[in-house]
Symmetry: C2
Amino acid sequence: MKKLYIGVDLGGTNVRSGLIDEEGTILAKDKRKSLPKISAEAPLNQIVDSINAVVASGGVGFGDIIRIGIGTPGPLSAKEGTILNAGNLPHWKNFPLAAKVRERVGVDVYIQNDANVYALGEWWKGAGRGYDNFFAMTLGTGIGGGAICGGKLLTGFNDNASEVGHMSIDRNGIQCWCGQKGCLELYSSATGLVRITNEALINSHVHSTLTEYRGRGDELNSQIIFEAASNGDEFAIEMFDTCGYILGLGIVNVLNILNFQRVAIGGGLADAGDLIFAPAKRALEERGFNTFNSEVSIVRGELPGNAAILGAAKMVIDMEVIN
Amino acid sequence: MKKLYIGVDLGGTNVRSGLIDEEGTILAKDKRKSLPKISAEAPLNQIVDSINAVVASGGVGFGDIIRIGIGTPGPLSAKEGTILNAGNLPHWKNFPLAAKVRERVGVDVYIQNDANVYALGEWWKGAGRGYDNFFAMTLGTGIGGGAICGGKLLTGFNDNASEVGHMSIDRNGIQCWCGQKGCLELYSSATGLVRITNEALINSHVHSTLTEYRGRGDELNSQIIFEAASNGDEFAIEMFDTCGYILGLGIVNVLNILNFQRVAIGGGLADAGDLIFAPAKRALEERGFNTFNSEVSIVRGELPGNAAILGAAKMVIDMEVIN
């Protein structure tokens, strides 16, 4: 019988779990609400229930599970298994997540930054297969990043590496909550796209179906802008172009530091396809260092919904080597 | 008898060599002009003569030398031992440096980016000792960078990692020769300091001893600006402040990607001390991510003149493990 692991992906909206064997086959899956705003216990219960669900539907027992890996928003301490102070998990200040889950299920639990396990998953089974120097980004409410350098996950000294959303690409840009100005996620996340669109709508010369949202910015979202762009609205297309081009500038910056061969982009905004990928590739072509970027490709993540649970499992599978 | 290695540091002006034992003791040193503008043969001869000099003055023979490491400007292929196309080495397009030197001295030769071996040297014997996640930068004509991640040199997929001089911190900034706009080295290198000073001198309201260089920008250099600042010239101090603050913004960006514990700054401009370190530290404090930077220090390199030769030797010492 193959060795079995569980990978969990804790997000602000959903928690997903997978029962996964050492070769990366997903034998059972579960998805349910994560409920992080309700209490400290609520998301913990959801995680435990989700783990129970894949064990049950996989027809196995907890004695068959070697280890559990959880990808969660950070900042966190992977070494301590503790969530430090994540914006999306308001009831979990210095919360010992790994110990709490271990207590409830009786299996060893390890945690890691969600974007890092996303990168591990895409590297293992998706867009990063075969690339020992690989970067992955998720474009959602914010921007997450994860790096594989020389065939190993880059974690940094306290598991906070690859925070590419807070790379400034405009030192005089608008203030970010992180302390920096002009951070990439202010422009190239779903939130950033909405922000720059609202800002541009102030100009009364704009012709667009989106002008109906002028002064009602709270009602605008990235899906609405996407639909307008898909219907040929030039203004909406231009907003995606700005968002994607700046994404490409961020990629050039990370490329010059990490010298990767391939970057995979996932998260909700990646569904916009060439509306965002074409300008990102144009930025790489126009602004990249020639000798570096000749072999670099920007591609879409291949495992939406599965990358993070696969990566969380991969993290605890690779511990075999250490133990 | 201890095992012996030679570390070579090829710069645009000088070539330095050191006869170094496995513990990092420098037993003999040589420094001479590198002559890269004259011909392809000239700098090669200087390297070989410099290597011969440390062998002779160390009282050993080539049979005693296990390997030679050379740090050189890139881009290069460490794997092939070839200089690809370095701005400072105009006669060396696709030049097989490692093979050429090996042919002349009969010892195995390996090459690596100069800023990478600088970082290795500071990590081994200088400001980075004991920090498994460490970054080093050299501020000269340009800006070089080198990273130790999890106790290993970060090289990337073709040895072009850590090109921090070409990280953009201003997407709408001035055009850099690399293709990008607003690159860090346009502001925070010695050349960058002179550039922003000349630019500021255009303003006729400037009061400074440096106004005599207005319209004679070619005669200005970083040493002159340093002397003015040291003599209390407020304008010159402000120029260093801008240069150092932007350096700090660049450090924040790299920190958010690599999550290092310490960064060491070397190169000529580091001699300006607090004129440049104080504003860099202020930028880290004002713009850094709180949870990340609490344990991060910005320090001066400790091994001027020796870091790169030590690092070049360390690179070939560590090959013992591989062979």
